[in-house]
């Protein structure tokens, strides 16, 4: 397909363009003195920009698939899915940030950067050029570094940001070095050209493998796959909780987008629903091994955590493992599996972080032990505890919650790919995960609270959590709409 030139491309780039304007607007409107006291102005503009971006994405949903900006970027239903997903994540993050005590005194830059990251995630998901992948990744990373360090005066937050920067710099350095290997072997930066080249010439196996492995350092870092996960617990713990919630959903999704796009376009050949790995490149086993390591480590280490944010960090590592499992299956079901799982993960993980924010606001604690007797606290105790229990059961994957459907999708893909060993590791991990998720449920319902503080404030957050909890159940039973959405989105331009 002929790539479009810059002017013709703009039409396909409307959501990002609107977000870029929003970004500029937020910073400009922060300058005049008379807007100084209007705290809600910048988040409002950011929200409007994001909603516009969502509407424009929906408007452009049925555009033909196209390679724009001379092939640097590909716009297809797959891209649009991630545009929607990431914009929605940012939108909810705005809400969570406004409701969180962590971020009471934010400045306009915070909201601006959130919009900036959203552009980055969209670009990353859409990039079809190795250099563009690198640019997208950096755009997301650099802005996230700043957001992580956004707690003024908090040593933990500063430390987290520093760690994130160091790891991020290392990972992206290794990645671009690896990409140069791939370029050196194949002579192209375009995934499709790379595939065509590799089909013709069974290339230098060793060099290419090293290059791929190094490229995976960058991708793995974004989705926090083992062994590139080390930053996750510290950063998740140190960052302001809404930022943690955001990082665990948005950039992770963008990371998966680029893994899928790169692996499925550059390293496999499509045939009747299966993506057949090219000769000499057993990419499926490679990702499968990453998946097993990631989910096993995440689950085993999560068992011992005492801080809710670290706990959710390891849980998010484990979930990255589940999604990698679907990515390893190299079939259409695999793409659908990842997309669907991201949707479910969006609901249950933002929900769980929402509860963490609520409890921190009300009881000023991040300690899991302090969740004891949450259901027995007067006020909203029972409601919050039930919502949290639903999110946790959903993360475990127990019907009738939406998390189960996600697992179902993933196992369908894995079994269709005949990766039975992977499926067995997957189910073993589900059982392990029950053990630690249920521990919090046990604290909330079986134990008694240590004091008689009540949960009465913050009605807005409670409403949002109730909505998420209802969504967990409703989409767990009637997930046809989500199924249709992922079915149409699992459509890459090859």
């Amino acid at each position: 397909m002929q790539p479009l030139d810059n002017i013709a491309s703009l039409w396909y780039f409307l959501p990002e363009s609107v977000l870029a304007l929003t970004f500029v607007l937020i910073f400009l409107l922060d300058l005049p003195k008379r807007f100084e006291r209007k705290r809600y102005l910048s988040p409002l503009i950011a929200a409007i920009g994001l909603v516009l971006a969502i509407l424009l994405t929906i408007y452009g949903w049925n555009f033909p698939k196209a390679r724009v900006f001379f092939g640097m970027i590909t716009v297809d239903p797959f891209t649009n899915f991630f545009r929607l997903f990431c914009a929605a994540t940012s939108l909810f993050t705005i809400y969570l940030s406004l409701r969180s005590n962590d971020l009471k005194n934010t400045t306009a830059e915070y909201w601006g950067m959130l919009v900036g990251v959203t552009i980055g995630m969209g670009v990353l998901a859409a990039s079809s050029n190795l250099l563009m992948i690198y640019l997208g990744l950096e755009l997301v990373s650099i802005l996230s570094f700043v957001m992580v360090g956004y707690l003024p005066g908090s040593r933990r937050s500063a430390e987290a940001a520093l760690k994130y920067v160091l790891y991020g710099a290392t990972a992206s350095g290794i990645m671009i070095y690896g990409l140069s290997f791939i370029f050196g072997v194949t002579g192209s930066l375009d995934p499709i050209q790379i595939r065509l080249f590799l089909q013709e010439n069974p290339a230098e196996r060793a060099t290419l493998f090293v290059g791929l492995l190094m490229a995976f350092a960058g991708f793995g870092y974004k989705v926090s796959a083992v062994p590139f996960h080390m930053w996750t617990p510290d950063v998740y713990q140190g960052a302001p909780t809404p930022v943690t919630a955001f990082l665990s959903v948005g950039p992770k999704a963008a990371g998966f987008a680029i893994i899928l796009r790169f692996v499925y376009t550059a390293l496999t050949q499509y045939q009747d629903g299966f993506f057949i790995p090219l000769k000499y490149i057993d990419i499926s086993t490679l990702i499968g091994v990453f998946a097993v390591a990631t989910m096993t480590l995440g689950n085993l280490v999560a068992i011992q955590q005492t801080n809710i944010k670290r706990f959710l960090a390891y849980s998010s590592i484990a979930h990255a493992g589940y999604m990698l499992m679907a990515a390893a299956s190299l079939n259409t079901e695999g793409i659908r599996g990842v997309l669907f799982y991201l949707l479910t993960y969006f609901i249950m993980n933002l929900g769980a972080f929402g509860v963490a924010i609520y409890v921190f606001n009300e009881l000023n604690t991040e300690n899991i032990e302090d969740y004891k007797g949450l259901s027995k606290r007067s006020g909203k105790g029972m409601l919050i505890a039930v919502a949290m229990a639903l999110f946790l059961f959903s993360l475990t994957g127990i019907p009738p919650t939406v998390g189960f459907v996600g697992k179902f999708y993933i196992f369908t893909a894995v079994i269709k790919a005949k990766l039975y060993w992977l499926a067995l590791f997957g189910v073993a991990n589900s059982v392990i995960s029950l053990y630690y998720y249920v521990r919090i449920v046990k604290y909330m319902f079986f134990d008694d609270p240590a004091d008689d503080r009540t949960l009465v404030q913050n009605v807005g957050l409670v409403r949002m959590l109730t909505g998420f909890a209802i969504a967990t159940i409703v989409f767990g039973i009637f997930w046809k709409s989500l199924a249709v959405l992922t079915l149409s989105s699992a459509n890459l331009l090859l």
Partner: protein, 506 residues
């Protein structure tokens, strides 16, 4: 009323109660209890209607609702129906649920939560028995887990948290294996279907299902999932903990209904979907059944805790179901399902009886009672009925099903059956010994003032005892309902029976 969806109504009517209960003020505990009771009544009433309406001459699915598309892209359907295998279980579920609500009227802790979860549990159980779509079945199967976990964990005995998580983990291990097999069956069936009837009616041969080892793996995945629920030795260790720690009514549900889901699942999935593998491996089902029978009885004999004794007696009695299923005879398989029903009614009585004495004595140490026959004479009579039914006294229902199982199993497994028959003596031994320790001998001073069994407790026991008596003399109504279907399942195995002769080594 021609097209009234009876099964849907039976399944979801308890949920109506669940929707009402949160809006009742906390102080009105009695109202909560009555709402819960009323919410179980539609299912019970419809169960009675089922008993009369069920066409006993037909072996096909009756009262089918659906299949209606639920999630179309995946061919997941809402499909319910009953046949001779499930109809008795549906009736049992409706009956035991209502009885257990009555038996729970003395709950005082977090009343709203208890009854709400209980009703959710009933929906899960009922749905599992009537679902004819594998996906739907799986969802109901797992829905049961959540309320059960809370019911044991919040309202249970001293080691409740350990028992609850153990129960949850064990069952989840089984469920995830079942999930994998379910997906495999879906991917490699004609027309990619979850429809159990469609799966049953086709010979599963596509893709990897061609290979015998893959079929064995699928069979084993399903079998382990169900074996954990039964529980079959060596997967039984969750049972004593869960049964002992659970509150009385929940023990009744566990033993009376949940265990049956295991054997039900085997007959619904393992036998019809993989008849060839079932025949290959049937020897092991029979062996495991006999181990369950003997091992359960011996464990029961060694117990000092009244409730633990009853729990192990369940392990023993469920072994009869396995042995009967594995016999390949009409007597055996009918005996097995009748045993499922009878064990449900008998063991429910036993757990209620333990609950009654525990409410008064606040302990269950068998050596700490004695002479209760003089303080609580009427209680002693009710206990005697249940105990004699459990040990298989002729004239009570337990005898009929055990005798049928022995008759059937003897034809194919004479050696194993001979071993299993010794359990009759063992069961009699521990039951009578328990009788003696609790009711005879010198009266324990501390227990002198105990009130005898009250009206509410009698109301719980009476229907069960009546069923035990009636089916003991006249089992025809129950057997008539199940036999056409069960003989059909048995017939499916016969074409593969050539292999049976060769493994008749015992």
């Amino acid at each position: 009323m021609q097209n009234f969806p009876i099964l849907t109504a039976m399944t979801f009517s308890p949920l109506l109660g669940l929707l009402v209960i949160p809006f009742i003020p906390k102080a009105k505990e009695t109202l909560v209890k009555w709402v819960a009771l009323v919410a179980t009544l539609p299912a019970l009433g419809l169960a009675v209607k089922l008993f009369f309406d069920f066409d006993r001459a037909s072996g096909v699915i009756q009262l089918a609702e659906g299949p209606i598309d639920w999630i179309k892209p995946f061919h997941i359907q809402y499909y319910m129906g009953i046949d001779g295998l499930s109809v008795t279980m549906v009736i049992l579920t409706a009956l035991i649920s209502t009885i257990c609500i009555i038996a729970s009227f003395n709950i005082t802790k977090q009343v709203k939560g208890y009854f709400a979860l209980f009703l959710l549990l009933e929906t899960g159980m009922m749905g599992t028995f009537v679902a004819l779509d594998f996906f739907l079945f799986f969802v109901f199967w797992e829905i049961m887990l959540l309320p059960m976990y809370f019911l044991i964990g919040i309202w249970g005995g001293p080691r409740r948290e350990y028992a609850a998580i153990k129960f949850f983990l064990y069952t989840l291990v089984g469920s995830v294996l079942m999930l994998l097999v379910m997906v495999a069956l879906y991917l490699y069936s004609d027309g990619n279907t979850f429809n159990i009837i469609a799966l049953r009616d086709q010979v599963l041969h596509l893709g990897p299902l061609k290979s015998n080892s893959f079929r064995v793996a699928c069979w084993a995945g399903l079998f382990i999932a169900f074996a954990i629920k039964v529980p079959v030795f060596p997967f039984h260790t969750w049972l004593p903990d869960a049964h002992v720690e659970a509150p009385t009514a929940i023990s009744v549900i566990l033993a009376g209904i949940l265990l049956k889901l295991g054997t039900y699942g085997m007959l619904r999935f393992n036998f019809p979907l993989f008849p060839d593998i079932t025949v290959q491996l049937v020897k092991w089902i029979a062996v495991l059944g006999v181990i369950n029978i003997i091992y359960g009885a011996l464990c029961a004999m060694a117990q000092k805790d009244f409730k633990k004794l009853i729990a192990y007696s369940s392990v023993s009695h469920m072994g009869f179901c396995l042995l009967g299923m594995a016999s390949f005879t009409s007597e055996g398989i009918n005996g097995a399902v009748l045993q499922m029903f009878n064990h449900g009614t008998i063991t429910a009585q036993l757990f209620l009886i333990v609950g009654i004495i525990y409410d008064r004595a606040h302990h269950r140490d068998l050596n700490g009672f004695g002479g209760l026959a003089t303080t609580m004479p009427r209680y002693a009579v009710w206990t005697a009925i249940a105990f004699f039914a459990a040990l298989g006294l002729p004239g009570l229902s337990g005898f009929i099903s055990e005798a049928l199982v022995f008759l059937g199993a003897y034809k194919n497994w004479p050696g194993l059956t001979a071993i299993a028959v010794t359990s009759v003596v063992l069961t009699a031994a521990y039951m009578l010994w328990t009788m003696q320790r609790v009711f005879l001998g010198p009266v324990n001073e501390k227990h002198k003032g105990f009130p005898d069994i009250n009206k509410r407790e009698v109301l719980c026991l009476l229907p069960l005892a009546l069923i035990v008596l009636i089916l003991g003399v006249y089992p025809k109504p129950a057997i008539d309902m199940m036999q056409v279907t069960l003989n059909g399942i048995n017939q499916m195995l016969l074409p593969y029976g050539g292999k049976v002769a060769s493994i008749l080594g015992f």
